[in-house]
């Protein structure tokens, strides 16, 4: 529904950064500061407009899509529409993106008045913001994937600009990732369009998809998400890109772009292909747990904070994947919360860590080092999941899932091995961050005004959301519940329709409780028996 009588609020939020980039392009090159002010102003305006979005949840407990804009039919023959909306899954990602981008811009000004290429970087960041917001708001699969590819293109542009000095390995990685994602997206769009299906997500969720198509599309989209979120073993591009970037872009990548993958898993992989997700989920969850262990171990061996954070993010991606493919509400809920927590934490760690390590005359610093000590301490505490910080929320929920939930493996022993591996991975991640903190504590730099603003804003948010978790968890809960409820219905329907597929013994799906604190967890979706490959049903 649209609470504003059809007013296109989301279109404005998505278009504002694009407009800013256009205006910035018109500003003469000789006035780089004017470009920056234009960019900051438009990014701040986007944040201001986005702050109206939570009002949609003041009296809504249904988890439905809010501030809907569309669907406006674009290409009937191919089922393409222009369709925007936000729900509990995308709301916080939109807010997070609009909040972090102006912050990064402010940070980027520090001590870099004459930096060459700053104008292009600022405009590139605006393009990236617009593409990311489009991805989070789009309710048409084709539009969503197109925005997704546009976001990767903008990132490739930014990385190419910055990595020229260090060789173009990072740019090559990004170009390859972008190409793979783009062709995969095209394949999925063609797959749906050739069957005459509408690509708007609510309709698509209710449309039966043949099993063969479900399988290949599911794997292609999981691959797209895995690549974008730098999940093991598709993570190689991220540390390479991260090494050659300035800190603001590194933070932008680590705190916003990587969220796309996790978002995609929850937005379309599970809702559109719940049967495939149930069937292949356990294997993917195992890959996620392996990624968690791998990322944690590699992060433990790193000597710099940024490298540690990069691999810590890879590890957390694995944890998110495991949470999503547990196919229970605690897992999905925890995965979303953890995505948000990781974004804020990694942004704070990277920005404050860089600020403290800068080789700069002490006289330039206007704020004492204690400020940065406090800020980065809170970021590290959030990273290890100390209660009272935002990091505790997602981690605790995922651990509830890990210990109390069922992991859909075929045996109890498998479940227990997975639980132990997750706990070990989380502990190793904490060890890696604590080791990095001990190394970091030796630096003694003060802060610029802009850096102090970042040092204040991010830790405040980390603590605020840690103390009032309902601010973010309330809108998420009903939406996650709806996603799982629809998934159960769809699995039922698919099993009825594709009966012989499964040859599968079906369990009656128990009701789902969306209150994720309740335990023990029920298993929400029907789990076909092992040996599930289609028999007698052509794809």
């Amino acid at each position: 529904m649209n609470q504003l009588g059809g007013f296109p609020l989301l279109t404005i939020v998505v278009a504002l950064p694009l407009l800013g980039a256009g205006i910035g392009l018109l500003v003469p090159r000789s006035r780089p500061d004017a470009t920056r002010w234009v960019a900051l102003l438009t990014a701040a305006t986007a944040l201001f407009v986005a702050l109206f979005l939570p009002m949609g949840w003041l009296d809504d407990e249904t988890g439905s899509v809010q501030f809907v804009d569309g669907p406006w039919s674009w290409l009937d023959a191919l089922g393409l529409n222009y369709y925007l909306g936000v729900d509990g899954i995308s709301l916080h990602l939109v807010l997070l993106t609009t909040f972090l981008v102006p912050l990064f811009m402010i940070y980027d000004w520090v001590g870099r008045p004459e930096q060459p290429g700053a104008r292009e970087r600022t405009l590139g960041v605006l393009l990236l913001e617009s593409a990311l917001l489009g991805t989070f708001c789009a309710l048409d699969l084709a539009a969503l994937l197109s925005f997704w590819v546009a976001a990767l293109l903008a990132t490739t542009y930014l990385v190419s600009r910055e990595s020229a000095a260090q060789g173009s390995a990072a740019a090559r990685w990004l170009a390859a990732v972008t190409a793979l994602v783009a062709v995969s997206a095209l394949a999925v769009i063609v797959g749906f369009a050739s069957r005459g299906m509408s690509l708007d997500l609510p309709t698509l969720t209710a449309t039966p998809i043949p099993w063969g198509a479900q399988v290949w599309m599911f794997w292609v989209l999981v691959g797209v998400c895995g690549l974008t979120m730098a999940a093991f073993p598709l993570h190689l591009w991220y540390p390479a890109a991260s090494r050659s970037l300035p800190v603001t872009l590194r933070a932008l990548l680590g705190s916003i772009l990587l969220n796309l993958g996790g978002y995609g898993l929850i937005r379309f992989c599970v809702p559109l292909f719940p049967l495939a997700a149930t069937r292949f989920g356990p294997a993917i969850a195992v890959a996620g747990v392996v990624g968690l262990l791998y990322g944690a171990l590699v992060a433990l061996g790193q000597d710099t904070l940024s490298a540690s954070v990069a691999y810590w993010r890879v590890a957390q991606g694995g944890l998110v994947i495991a949470g999503v493919f547990a196919m229970e509400d605690a897992g999905l809920h925890g995965a979303l919360l953890h995505l948000l927590a990781c974004s804020l934490t990694s942004a704070a760690l990277l920005l404050l860590g860089e600020a403290r390590g800068e080789d700069r005359p002490a006289a330039a610093a206007r704020f004492a080092p204690q400020w940065s000590h406090l800020g980065i301490a809170l970021a590290f505490l959030s990273g290890v999941g100390i209660p009272g910080t935002v990091g505790a929320l997602g981690l605790a929920t995922l651990l509830v899932q890990a210990i109390g939930g069922e992991w859909l493996t075929s045996s109890d022993a498998g479940d227990w091995i997975q639980r132990i591996a997750i706990l070990a991975g989380v502990l190793l991640c904490q060890a890696a961050l604590l080791r990095a903190w001990r190394r970091e504590a030796r630096t003694r730099q003060g802060l610029h005004t802009q850096q102090a603003l970042v040092a204040l804003a991010l830790p405040v948010l980390i603590v605020l959301l840690g103390l009032y978790p309902t601010l973010i968890s309330d809108p998420i809960g009903p939406t996650v519940y709806r996603v799982l409820e629809d998934a159960v219905e769809r699995v039922e329907r698919d099993l009825d329709m594709l009966g012989p597929i499964a040859g599968a013994a079906r369990a009656d799906p128990p009701p789902i409780a969306w209150n994720w604190t309740s335990a023990p967890r029920p298993r929400p979706v029907a789990v076909p028996a092992p040996g599930f490959w289609p028999q007698g049903v052509s794809p």
Binding site: L174, L186, I189
Partner: protein
């Protein structure tokens, strides 16, 4: 109401009259710019006349040879638009503009217009010959010799194919040939004829495995000549094939699909290996030829609009790319590096690789969806691999374009007009692709 007998030739006569006038205008340097605007006016008036006639509900045929109807109109529009772009590229890029060169461009466009309007193989072959002759005359002698020989071989092969098809069907009318094929009356002689026809056309448009000449040749041509050879030639070939596509023998369709897919893979691979800029264009031409051949395999209902959208998309992409890589030896020295030209070139590249909502993406979705429905799975996967290469090429080209110094992107007003108009048409065409496709279907139905 009886139509005037020469009505179907309205566009052709406009172009030829202008070309004749320019041929007689002399070789003075001063007349060059004026001549260019006359040529551009001709490329605007000719399709305008055609559009007015068709939209007023009239259709006419000249002895069953040349037709003017809704089905032929898009081909005329795209040919004239490409001709206008070629004139502007010539004007914006050439050191000395001369009236006869614009006349030759108009002759080439007139040849393609004849092919687009042909309902009979004879005028189609004649149109191709006129196009090849005009383009050969436009080139420098050292290059034109190669081009003439290749064109002669291509046309001879094509003529042999036409003769065999006549032997098989007893008619050279395209509708008769297509009808016999639709009835399942395909004979070995007709299959051989179609094979030779495809080989002859493939040689002209750089389709693999007949592509080897195109890289060396394109590199030695001026931007406008290269645009005509790389973009207008495929339009002529596809205009011919669009009428015969339904006549492809069932047994040969998989082979044709593989031919197209291999062209896509090889073309984009070669372009990627060449890097970016002008060396990459030959590969892109081969890949696009493959894509267009794949379009001819789509079923009858959708092949017309989809093929015309594809031709339009390629013409516009070509305009962006060719304008973007032009390095003009302008009389006043090299122009400043232009962000607008870079932006237009980027739009062209994004259209080439297929990012929604640009026109190229909708064309690709239609093409690959059609191939999936028709069961060309192998060629589809191969073409998708080629598309992956195209994305790598496009991303690397674009990042090089924006992230670093790019000496080739120089600006003159004419280049900016070409690139800007083409980029705008790509965006608007993409946003209105549905309406355009419906319009094309309605036009074809009316025809």
């Amino acid at each position: 109401m009886t139509s005037p007998p020469l009505l179907p030739l309205g566009a052709l006569l406009t172009l030829v009259s202008a070309a004749l006038a320019l041929s007689l205008a002399g070789r003075g340097r001063a007349s060059g710019r004026f001549a260019a605007w006359i040529a551009i006016a001709a490329t605007v008036v000719a399709p305008a006349l055609t559009t007015i006639v068709v939209l007023s509900g009239q259709s006419a045929s000249l002895q069953g040879m040349v037709a003017l109807d809704g089905r032929t109109m898009p081909g005329v529009l795209f040919a004239c638009a490409s001709g206008g772009f070629a004139v502007l590229l010539e004007l914006g890029n050439a050191r000395r503009t001369r009236a006869p060169r614009f006349a030759l461009i108009l002759y080439a466009v007139a040849g393609v217009v004849v092919v687009a309007q042909s309902t009979h193989m004879l005028p189609a072959v004649l149109g191709l010959a006129v196009f090849a002759a005009a383009l050969g005359a436009l080139m420098r002698p050292a290059v034109s010799w190669t081009y003439f020989v290749l064109s002669a071989v291509g046309l001879a092969t094509l003529c042999l194919g036409v003769v065999l098809m006549y032997g098989a069907s007893g008619s050279l009318r395209t509708d008769v040939i297509a009808l016999q094929a639709a009835d399942g009356a395909t004979k070995p002689l007709a299959v051989a004829g179609q094979g030779l026809l495809l080989a002859g056309l493939g040689l002209g448009i750089g389709l693999a495995p007949f592509h080897t000449w195109i890289a060396g040749n394109l590199a030695r041509l001026s931007v406008s000549e290269s645009y005509l050879a790389g973009v207008l030639a495929p339009q002529a070939a596809l205009a011919m094939l669009s009428r015969l596509a339904q006549a492809w023998p069932l047994q040969g369709r998989q082979l044709i699909a593989w031919l197209g897919a291999i062209s896509v893979v090889y073309g984009y691979g070669r372009a990627l290996a060449a890097g970016r800029g002008r060396p990459a264009l030959a590969g892109i031409v081969t890949a696009q030829a493959g894509t267009l051949i794949l379009h001819t395999l789509l079923p009858g209902d959708s092949s017309g609009p989809a093929l015309y959208l594809a031709i339009g998309s390629f013409a516009l992409t070509g305009a962006c790319l060719w304008a973007g890589v032009a390095a003009p030896p302008h009389p006043g020295g090299l122009g400043p590096s232009s962000p607008w030209l870079r932006a237009a070139l980027s739009v062209g590249l994004l259209n080439l690789v297929g990012l929604l909502p640009l026109l190229g993406a909708t064309v690709q979705i239609q093409l690959y969806g059609g191939l999936l429905r028709e069961g060309y799975i192998g060629p589809l996967i191969a073409a998708a691999a080629g598309q992956l290469t195209a994305w790598v090429l496009g991303v690397r080209w674009m990042t090089a374009l924006w992230a670093g110094p790019y000496a080739d992107v120089q600006s003159t007003p004419e280049l900016e007009i070409v690139a800007g108009a083409a980029a705008t048409a790509i965006v608007l065409g993409g946003l209105n692709a549905g309406a355009i496709a419906q319009w094309l279907v309605a036009l074809a139905g009316a025809g």
